[in-house]
Symmetry: none
Subunit: 143 residues, 4 copies
Amino acid sequence: MDDSFVSRNQLRLTCKGAHVVVHAAEKHAAAMSVPQCIAVVDPGGHLLAFSRMDGARIGSIEIALTKARTAATRLQRSGDVGGTSDSGKVSIALASQLNLTGMAGGIPIVVEGQVLGAVGVSSGKAEQDVEVGEAGIAALLDG
Amino acid sequence: MDDSFVSRNQLRLTCKGAHVVVHAAEKHAAAMSVPQCIAVVDPGGHLLAFSRMDGARIGSIEIALTKARTAATRLQRSGDVGGTSDSGKVSIALASQLNLTGMAGGIPIVVEGQVLGAVGVSSGKAEQDVEVGEAGIAALLDG
Amino acid sequence: MDDSFVSRNQLRLTCKGAHVVVHAAEKHAAAMSVPQCIAVVDPGGHLLAFSRMDGARIGSIEIALTKARTAATRLQRSGDVGGTSDSGKVSIALASQLNLTGMAGGIPIVVEGQVLGAVGVSSGKAEQDVEVGEAGIAALLDG
Amino acid sequence: MDDSFVSRNQLRLTCKGAHVVVHAAEKHAAAMSVPQCIAVVDPGGHLLAFSRMDGARIGSIEIALTKARTAATRLQRSGDVGGTSDSGKVSIALASQLNLTGMAGGIPIVVEGQVLGAVGVSSGKAEQDVEVGEAGIAALLDG
């Protein structure tokens, strides 16, 4: 087979790696006393691991999933999707049939320059959601 | 079983309790001469009791349900969801795939510090919807 | 407040309890060499914890969630929903707007006679899915 | 205006009438010791009144609504929709985009030859659901 037909040496986040992200995010959220919904997805935006902490909102589950899906499939932080204008964010949500969001809290998991998926966090304030997601990824990279 | 696996002493709103909320809300709305759609849901946002008063709008049924679902699953008044900006409210509606709304009229039912569900009211003006929902909950707590 | 308006002494599955189910199910599936998608939901069918093991099918994620939601909200094993006939199972799936399934692999989590949620397992054969879910619940009850 | 442009002397089920149906159905279900979800809708299939009894399945809410909507908008018992064959019932569910079901438990409310809406009951066996719905309508007609 022609070498150009496949790309080799791709990285894939394991189930264990996904749980490291979730658990470190949970630990950080607990230290902040902000219970969270935390989702980790693969590059296709498909769920790998999830946890809803005691006290986190049921109404944040879907939002955590949407943030993670957005970061993974757009290859950027969900808060950057649709630019900085409200209309840009609304447009991308509508054009994606509500699969994407411009709300902050979804962060790509990047290892050696490859996006292996993303974490999405929801139930706190935007900056808290981001901080918790970053703590989860940091534990993966430092582990 | 390890004690940390379950949380005890949780309360659950009974069917009777849900009907008390609906009927008191209806009575209050009738006194205001504003026919309403009134929904009571459990903590997961699932319907317990509902009434559409004579003259209330068919087009308000779904909104009453969404307000109630929002207040129950976000653990806050629906009017507070998404903050005070239009863009915040639109964002959360879209990111939740239209399961949540930032419109006022959904109020959590809180007993002994636990959210047992919510009431959602729609067909009047925002402040009327809120007043009717509050009247429903007051009857439950005072009953 | 009138005593008949609320029911007391309800149990709630904690986040920790949900993870005990998921991890024990994973361990059992690993011993069987059958990678699985494992979901644990609350009584309203809302996600508490999830894991997709390495090698489990992306196309099984949604099915695991639907099995868990079915067992939790129907208060019975998903394989018993819709009876034993194909037509009964199809009817209930359609009438529930695809929120329910009659496929085996969803099992209620029952503690002291209360349904605290359910586990849903998908990616193996039906009997393997059930066995893995049962192993998860057994770890919770025996823990 | 030409007399042929409007049809006069139409009947409309009031909110009070809808609650009579729900409460009588609840009472009958309680006597049978089968907790039920009970929905009453108008001729457009839009919700008028609803009750989920203690112990009735969350996973039956949507089905009760679908049965009621079917009976009201098809002007016949939901169990008769799609004929007696499985394929007929599946076909009508699919062609209606899952708005209709051929499952028994939805019964039109007929007064003086006019269909004023329907009751839909779900959470028991098919014959129990039908019996409870009939008891609700009987209370309306005999009231």
